[in-house]
Structures are given as structure tokens and as C-alpha cells.
Amino acid sequence: MGIKGKIAWRFMAEKIHAGAYKGLVQAIIAHFLEEYGDPVKANALLKKLGRATGEYIYTTYLAATKRPAKNLRDLVPTYNLGFKYFTGKEFDEITFEEKGKDVFITYRVRECPLCKGLHSPHPEIFMCNVVAGIFEWIEEQRLEDWNAESVTCNETKCRARGDPYCEFQYHFKLK
């Protein structure tokens, strides 16, 4: 992130206290478990919430940065900038892997600001899965641009459930 990005994050990005977000996530998970009693479903619903947030987040990001990804490889710096814009933190590690018509992009963050201090009530619940839902929704809108037929994004590791880092993995299937 350059100096402009740092200034944008410090002075221009609207912020709320991380505790407010984490408290809300906790309450939502408790509600899902109470309502459905099924951690797998609770986890899927977290992602669904993220998907429903996708447009709001993407328009906010575009309005602030005017920097949509130009190609699949550009998703590496683009999502780094987006994560920084919304959380103040960059990813620690990003990998881009192409296997024939399958493209995998993996983002890892060790001190994830979204779940730091939270403890997942069940190993099937990835507490930052909302983020995976947001990512998935955004790239679904761009399938045509990437000449892809489908995309999924999941949180595959989460510090809140004892993993060493939070990990979000994209899987694009190209046409």
C-alpha cells in the first residue's frame, strides 16, 4: 500500500469499532444456532449474509478507490487493497495457482482483525465466513470479464477455531 492508500485509510475510510462488528457476529451466530441447532447451516448462513452485503461493500470500495481488478491476477493486489480499506490490515500471504481451467487464489491473514479475540462455538463455524460471502458475490458479477463459468469462495481456516491464520480461498472454473 502506497502513501495515498495509507492516507485514504487513516483519514477517509469510515470506521466503526472492531468490537462492534465482532459483537454483532457473535450474536448472529448465537441466533443461528438457537434457531437451527446446526453449526453447518449456521456457517452457510454467515456466508449468505456476506453475499447479501456484497453490493454495498463493492460499491463503497469502488467509490473510494476507483480500482476494480483488471484481470484474474490483479485480484491479488485488489483484494489486498480492499481488505486494507475495510479493516486497516493487509493480507500476510496471497497465492495464485492455475491448474488448467481451475484457478485458485488464497488469501491468508494471521492477526485477523475480524475475529481476533473470538472463539468459535463449533469447529464447523468459520467466524469470518461473511468475508468469503462478500468475495464470492463480487466475483460472480465479473465472471464474464474473467471468461469463467463459476466461482466459489470459502473461508477454509479461521483463527477463531484454533487455526494459525484465517484463510479465504477462491476457486474459479474457467470456460
Binding site: 437451527y36 441447532g37 453490493e55 454495498y56 460499491t59 467509490a63 473510494a64 476507483k66 476494480p68 464474464e144
Partner: protein
């Protein structure tokens, strides 16, 4: 009943307006309680109020340019809009509406209560029904196979299943509104212009994409480039089946 109160209040508002303007008081399902608007302005105000009021916060508004005037629809209470139609500039109309909102806050809230109590003013509230979202996915306690199932003597087995109305579907929506129309003069690209012209407060980004037969991402990215001229009305709405 409340008609007299509405007329009196409308007269007071008219007299207090710092500008010459026709006005209307409109409810959140588009019903007009009082109007001195022209038919063109009235029709537009009804449509805007119907679409906008359930999504807006109090104080939100939309301005529409008519042939010879400007129409402002301003959410003045939770369920009422004030429409002003005047040759005055947008900013002046907004200030006038804000003034009315602060001057007549109590009367407008009382009027809203009266209208809510009236039997003719029935509005389908855009809130989730108390029923579970998906009844079929609710867990039912399992009965051990060894325990005999015997219905209580006072409760005969039902002959027909009670009909369960499925919960309505809702979606998050973001409706772009072009607030600075002067950008249209600077835009030469036809498609970009068409996208911006559809940012009239009544189309979602998805609807704009469908209308122009382009991917939604194109709309989102284009609007991102005009962030200073675009405001979003963000809310939740019922998905029409």
C-alpha cells in the same frame, strides 16, 4: 375524520413555506392525503413516494426535474412524504422541506398516528413475518422408536394439515441516484450516459444492467467512477414472486 386536520396542516405548511410552491402530503403506499400539485407532478410524486419511503430514512429525499419545475419528495416522518413542486432551485426546496419538518414535527407525527389508527389506511409493512423463515428446516424433537405414539385423548388427530404460508423473501437493494446531473453534460460515452440517466432513484443496479443488457459489474464499476455525483439509497425490499 383526519381530513380536516390534514387540510389545516397543509394550509399552515403552505403559509410557512419560504418559496412559492405547490405541495402534497403522501403516504408510504403512494396514497395522496392532500395535493395542490399538477397531475404530472402528482403522478411522479406518488411513484417516488411509493418506491422510496419504505427504503429511506427520515430526511432522505429525491428531486425530479419536470418540464417547467422541480419536484422534491422528502421523507418527513416514518410514513409520510412531503412533495414540493416549484421553479425554485433544488437546494432551496430541500431547505424549505427541512424547515417544514422541524416546524411541524409534532403535528406531522400526530397526523401519522391518526392515519395509522384509521381503518382505511392499511399498509403492508415491509417487516419479516413472525413465522420461521423456512419451516421445513426447523428441527422437530425425534421420538425414540420404542416409545408408543399415543395422541392425548382430548386432541383427535387432525384430518387436514394446517396450511403454512411460506415466509416472504427479502433482498438487500442499493439504488443509485444521480444527485449531480451536471456530470451528464461532460459524459460522451453513450453507454455511460445511459447508465447515469437510469440512476433516477427507481432502478437498482441489477435493473439498470438488465435494461441495458450489460453485466451488473459494468454498472457498478461505472458508477464507482462517478462516486461524487452518485448517492445510494440502501435498504431491504420484498422480492416479488
Amino acid at each position: 375524520m383526519s381530513k380536516k386536520i390534514i387540510e389545516e396542516l397543509a394550509e399552515k405548511i403552505t403559509n410557512s413555506l419560504p418559496v412559492r410552491s405547490r405541495l402534497a402530503i403522501i403516504g408510504d403506499t403512494g396514497q395522496v392525503f392532500h395535493s395542490t400539485l399538477t397531475s404530472e407532478a402528482k403522478e411522479a410524486a406518488e411513484k417516488i413516494a411509493k418506491i422510496g419511503l419504505p427504503l429511506w430514512d427520515v430526511g432522505d429525499y429525491q428531486v425530479k426535474r419536470l418540464k417547467n419545475s422541480q419536484l422534491l419528495v422528502y421523507k418527513i416522518t416514518n410514513r409520510l412524504a412531503l412533495a414540493l413542486d416549484s421553479i425554485e432551485r433544488e437546494g432551496v426546496l430541500i431547505l424549505a422541506a427541512k424547515k417544514v419538518a422541524s416546524m411541524f414535527n409534532n403535528e406531522l407525527n400526530k397526523l401519522e398516528e391518526l392515519l395509522e389508527a384509521a381503518p382505511t389506511y392499511e399498509i403492508e409493512k415491509p417487516t419479516l413475518p413472525p413465522a420461521p423463515l423456512k419451516t421445513e428446516e426447523r428441527k422437530t424433537p425425534s421420538i425414540p422408536p420404542t416409545s408408543p405414539v399415543t395422541p392425548p385423548p382430548s386432541a383427535p388427530p387432525p384430518t387436514t394439515l394446517p396450511s403454512v404460508k411460506p415466509a416472504a423473501k427479502f433482498e438487500t437493494v442499493n439504488i443509485p441516484v444521480l444527485v449531480d446531473k451536471s456530470v451528464l453534460k461532460k459524459v460522451k460515452d453513450k453507454l455511460v450516459r445511459s447508465i447515469l440517466e437510469l440512476c433516477d432513484g427507481s432502478h437498482t443496479t441489477s435493473e439498470i444492467a438488465k435494461k441495458l443488457n450489460i453485466p451488473r459489474s459494468r454498472v457498478l464499476i461505472t458508477l464507482g467512477n462517478f462516486s461524487k455525483a452518485i448517492n445510494y439509497i440502501s435498504g431491504v425490499r420484498k422480492v416479488e414472486e
